[in-house]
């Protein structure tokens, strides 16, 4: 059963190595680390990392070398890539076992043409940054995965172990100003407010009703992952703490801890 969930941004810039000399949005990173830290403190038996990607799949552990997709040439630490690849190889077996339960493909980021979703790089980094050493499962849901199957996958993930904690990487619209990645779209205000309301009030069922077409137009990459989260927490009484809600770079970021009632 699920014991706790956290909602964090999927923005690659959360990973400090991608920032250059000066940290970008340190308050956002701190909020996300606090949310991840709370998940880890609940001592889960399995920590599921879920984000949106090009396809629905489970994934092996990222290596630091994956950062090169966003920032070629940055990191002398890439000499550690082989070590990380070995570690990822060990994790791949577990990912495959779960993949068959979930009836989704098990992917390795080492396959040509299958880069690990950036959302999972961020989630994996967050867990590393708060010192999580337990079992983790990385899952992506496709950008175009229908709401019902996102929710089904979420429900199945929630049932994979006795104490499942869920880290969801998901963002709202990227159209919140003329400098935004997706330029200004006035519809983003209402869209993001509805998501914020659903998370704040714990009325996660509302997330299942999000218009996927509108979400795509607003470059709200989190839609499928939110719906996975709604499926995972379906039936659980949720009390939310919103740790960050702002759009400093034109993308709607929301950080929240979603605590399940009656779980110690």
């Amino acid at each position: 059963m699920i014991i706790s969930a956290a909602l964090c941004p999927a923005a690659p810039l959360l990973i400090p190595e991608l920032n250059g000399a000066e940290p970008v949005l340190p308050e956002l990173r701190q909020a996300a680390r606090s949310a991840a830290g709370e998940l880890v403190a609940a001592d889960p038996g399995l920590l599921v990392v879920a984000g949106t990607g090009a396809s629905t799949a489970t994934w092996d552990r990222p290596a630091r070398a994956d950062l090169a997709a966003f920032a070629p040439g940055i990191d002398p630490g890439l000499t550690k890539a082989d070590e990380a690849a070995d570690e990822a190889g060990e994790q791949a077996g577990a990912g495959r076992a779960w993949a068959s339960v979930l009836a989704v493909p098990a992917r390795s980021g080492y396959e040509h043409g299958h880069e690990r979703p950036g959302s999972l790089l961020v989630g994996n980094w967050l867990l590393d940054s708060v010192g999580y050493a337990g079992e983790r499962l990385l899952t992506s849901v496709a950008m175009d995965e229908p709401a019902a199957s996102c929710a089904r996958i979420g429900a199945e993930l929630a049932g994979l172990a006795d104490r499942v904690a869920l880290l969801v990487l998901a963002d709202g619209s990227a159209c919140r100003g003329s400098k935004a990645p997706g330029y200004l779209d006035h519809r983003s205000t209402g869209f993001d407010a509805a998501v914020e309301r659903a998370v704040r009030t714990g009325d996660l069922g509302a997330l299942l009703a999000i218009d996927a077409g509108l979400a795509a137009e607003l470059k709200a990459t989190g839609r499928a992952a939110w719906q996975l989260m709604a499926g995972a927490l379906d039936g659980a009484g949720v009390a939310s703490v919103v740790r960050y809600c702002d759009d400093p770079l034109g993308v709607a970021y929301l950080v929240a801890s979603l605590r399940v009632a009656g779980v110690g």
């Binding site: 997709a69 966003f70 070629p72 040439g73 979703p117 950036g118 330029y183």
Partner: protein, 310 residues
């Protein structure tokens, strides 16, 4: 592109597009520019809202004053654009034509020798620009309009084949990633160049461009700068379009108005790595930096040497 993970539709295979081409003279406007000659392409915007000049040459007489000035400062090519790269106010085909075609004709009427470039991704605009006297179509959006190359061929113009990572025109990169950005740049630009030649563009008038900042974050633009030699090694003439761009701003943490030194440094690196055309806002200073590179390389003699020789 809406999917952050979808990335560019075409992933690099690493195979490039066959053997490198033999570098040769660049032919534009009936003139021939040898491999060692570094050309300045001056930016002349016919827009009210471009990122650096912000409407300074929106007025037609101000734009023509700018043309006089950049030619006096040593520009070899004048690049006329009517649509900003950033998203914003819609500029449709008719409006883009209205902004640049008669202006190109006016430049041609005044300057018979200068190479004129039309900065457009649209074939309808390119066709009229060629009729008005344009010699080069600068397609920063990487072949988005499939008819553009044929129009350039029919108009006897050259073509800039750029890498925008598959992004639609006037969109910003959002969490784009590449297994290897330079492989993607090489594959796409060489692919576009081959297509251009296949539809009849003179191979001596085809140019490739990494298109810094287009479909790239700052790390990607720094990488293509660092590895620009891989582009020049293809044998196609390389255009470097870096002037005052955001990757320079983020590298130095400086606003647009303060990016000249960073621009000149980047220009110098690109020149050293073999780029041949440099698209610039600051023509006189770019010309000076490039002349210095040419002198250091020995492609051009120093202007006057007496030191220690008296």
């Amino acid at each position: 592109m809406t999917a952050p993970e979808a990335g560019p539709a075409q992933k690099g295979s690493g195979s490039g597009s066959g053997a490198p081409r033999e570098p040769g003279p660049l032919r534009l406007h009936g003139r021939s520019f040898p491999t060692g000659q570094l050309l300045v392409m001056a930016i002349v915007n016919r827009t009210p809202d471009s990122f650096y000049d912000a409407g300074e040459t929106w007025d037609e007489s101000a734009a023509m004053d700018r043309v006089h000035q950049v030619i006096a400062e040593g520009a070899d090519i004048v690049d006329v654009g009517g649509v900003p790269a950033a998203p914003g106010q819609v500029v449709d085909v008719a409006e883009e034509i209205r902004r640049i075609v008669s202006f190109i004709a006016a430049i041609r009427a005044t300057y018979q020798d200068v190479v004129i470039s039309a900065d457009t991704w649209r074939h309808e605009v390119a066709r009229q620009a060629c009729e008005a006297g344009a010699d080069l179509i600068n397609d920063s959006w990487g072949g988005w309009d499939g008819k553009l190359a044929l129009v350039a061929a029919e108009g006897g113009a050259g073509l800039v084949c750029a890498h925008a990572g598959g992004l639609p025109p006037r969109t910003r990169p959002f969490r784009v990633s590449y297994a290897d950005v330079m492989t993607d740049v090489l594959d796409r630009t060489q692919g576009l160049a081959a297509q251009a030649v296949a539809v009849g563009v003179d191979p001596a008038s085809v140019v490739i461009d990494a298109a810094h900042d287009f479909g790239k974050n700052t790390w990607h633009s720094l990488e293509v700068t660092r590895r620009l030699g891989e582009m020049t090694a293809t044998g196609w003439p390389v255009l470097a379009s870096v002037s005052r761009k955001d990757f320079i701003g983020e590298a130095l943490n400086l606003p647009i108005q303060e990016r000249l030194a960073g621009t000149l440094a980047t220009t110098t690196v690109c020149a050293w790595l073999g780029a041949r055309i440099f698209r610039a806002h600051d023509v006189a200073k770019t010309r000076q930096a490039l002349d210095m590179v040419s002198v250091i390389r020995g492609d051009q003699p120093p202007a006057r040497v007496a030191r220690g020789l008296a």
